[in-house]
Assembly symmetry: C2
Homo-oligomer: 396 residues x 2
């Protein structure tokens, strides 16, 4: 390994982690100057089971005004975020609290951008405008997967054309994140499994690059190994605190830029982009989509970095070294597929009853490259439209 | 492992890492609103070799006013910091830039507290007063060891009685840290070795606790192993970029609270406190002092947590498991001493020509416990004055 580019680690989110972390909500909002809060959430489940009420009581205790705004769905929608922007303005609010996981936080981030931008917030996600500010945000995390609680990224889906677009900037780093792993113990197994895939993938995107510093590579491998273990354990015993804690902290660390410190590039991100087009059209769970896309991407890219795949196999997946990096790399991809299957994740589109037409594949590959205006991939290999089509075909 | 207390991770420092990172100085100062900067440093070496001039030119380019203030020595002194406080006030400055390692940063932190406190800044370090603010800080890191660049802690020595005291708060978290590992390639071998000890120790203090989450324990072990390797490599080849990078990033991560996320307690810290008294009186390099104190502490504490010591041995020091945790723990301590010796560090006070009198040991043990007003140690074992004396004797 050699000398790398300048990299940045900036993750200013104030994390409170452990049992009962959500009980610090009133104090956290006060600490960060919130006076009029948009309380953003997803399904009405947290209304019915009393969880929202418990949190609102904590906010009331501090004399902080709040307006509730729910309805976020997985792959959060632009139209809802736009309603949130209107509500925030109408009510003259000054802080956005997300209660939920990545979808709610990403919807909140879109609102945060939109409330500080005069035009259509989609301009930012479609790269027509640069944000110059965002409203302050915090969260009570109830799902661990996307890592949005500490990341600079957000993803939103525009129903007009079902375009799913991500945008990253430091403006929407959360002020605080209250993380109680116990809150994730009641998640459905499918969601826990999909989360495991997603968390590992955020680090895998950063691991599969040409070069990094040895300490960061060690952290990357350590995270992938422990999150894999934790995912399997949480599925066996949903109330395993340590497994839930590893998944939750793993989700944050995996995506807060810690795992690319010293990297030659921030990450590869091709698998993510390829999957985004997929879940934009077919509305599959992001983690499940990744479990399908990654093996296809990996098989396509393997010959460009066999040693990297082989090492991943040895350290994360207990692949036995044979002395042949290409063979071991192939074994690593197979072991990964086996792990995905073992936690009930699909590894082919057909297993999700998705049979994309040629036209759909063409369209996804087109959209992935922003209609030919960009390529995909990190520094292992640059991917063009034809490469993307080949990967979608491999995923069928 | 079970459920733990609430823990906090908050490390808002904006890190720019890699070759040439210091060239971002002007931009970083501007980004964080600096207009009138106290440029704080140690020896005149950086004046003579032109490094300071290069940095001042970058500051000038942004039209930022600056006043230079050098003279920091290892185990930085209260009297110098007080001069800095006066200068900062007289010149009506608004930002403190530290150029150096832990000593300069800690001196800068003391100035940062003092400029926002009306009384004697020692009141804060001696727990007579709580700070309510601190002036903003940034650094160009030229030495990697103390981790002060991302930590909330600072240590200062009061020449009046040679009392060495630490104080921690979020007020003195740096705004930015520019980290170029290449700048550390010219450090004397002794300093590199002492740094290796110190960096590992910041994580060891956090590892030797009753309980944490598996992911954090894995990160702790990964850091200790890689920093140990990097220290040995940097001594063999001072220009090994990856070794210098691992030491530098290791120094930050080891002490920025990342390594105690999910811990039952923030850390043990007995070794550090015991060493502080030592280097307060004898003015030894902090890392060398730790290499002497840790084995003595470890032998004293081993029976309280044999499995923890054994695991450390297996994962960090290649100790072969025998099935007997106590024996393996003992082997781990011996392997650690062997490593210390291999990098030229002392493991006994006598090797540093320090032969403390009974009276001096009594005095250090007294001072360590704040004259009987506090105990030392984390949750593995509480240490009282008599325990501390025993540890100092073991270190002779």
């Amino acid at each position: 390994m050699g000398r790398n580019n300048l990299t940045n680690y900036y993750a200013p989110t104030d994390v409170i982690f452990g049992p009962g972390a959500e009980m610090q909500l009133g104090k956290a909002l006060k600490k960060y100057g919130a006076k009029r809060v948009l309380v953003h959430y997803g399904s009405e489940r947290i209304v019915k089971n009393g969880f929202l009420g418990k949190l609102l009581a904590l906010i009331d205790e501090e004399g902080i005004y709040h307006v509730e705004f729910g309805g976020v769905v997985p792959n959060p929608r632009l139209s809802l975020a736009k309603q949130g922007i209107e509500l925030y303005r109408k009510e003259n609010l000054d802080f956005i609290l997300a209660i939920g996981g990545g979808s709610v936080i990403d919807s909140a981030k879109c609102i945060a951008y939109g409330t500080c931008y005069d035009g259509d917030v989609w301009d930012i996600y479609s790269r027509k405008a640069d944000p110059v500010a965002a409203s302050p945000l915090g969260c009570v995390l109830t799902m661990a997967a996307a890592g949005s609680e500490m990341s600079d990224s957000s993803v939103i889906t525009n129903e007009d054309g079902w375009l799913k677009r991500g945008f990253s900037s430091d403006y929407i780093r959360l002020k605080f994140a209250l993380m109680n792993p116990e809150l994730t113990m009641t998640l459905p197994p499918y969601q826990t499994a999909a989360a495991t895939v997603d968390i590992m993938m955020h680090t895998m995107e950063r691991y599969f690059v040409k070069d990094t510093i040895p300490l960061t590579e060690e952290f990357q491998l350590a995270l992938c190994r422990k999150v894999k273990e934790a995912g399997a354990k949480a599925l066996q015993d949903p109330k395993d605190y340590n497994a839930r804690a590893d998944l939750m902290w793993g989700s944050s660390v995996s995506h807060n830029s810690f795992m690319n410190l010293g990297n030659s590039v921030r990450g590869d991100w091709a698998s993510h982009q390829i999957e985004h087009e997929l879940s934009g059209i077919f509305d599959v769970a992001h983690g499940a989509g990744l479990a399908v896309i990654w093996p296809a991407w990996a098989k396509y890219i393997l010959k460009d970095a066999p040693e990297k795949f082989a090492k991943f196999g040895y350290r994360v997946l207990d692949v036995e070294p044979t002395g042949d990096a290409l063979a071991d790399g192939k074994a690593a991809i197979e072991a990964m597929e086996e792990f995905y299957r073992s936690i009930g994740m699909p590894t082919r589109l057909s297993e999700m009853n998705i049979f994309p037409t040629e036209e759909q594949i063409e369209r996804m590959a087109e959209s992935c490259t922003f209609f030919g205006t960009r390529t995909l991939g990190g520094d292992l290999r640059t991917l063009y439209k034809e490469d993307l089509k080949a990967i979608y075909y491999l995923a069928k």
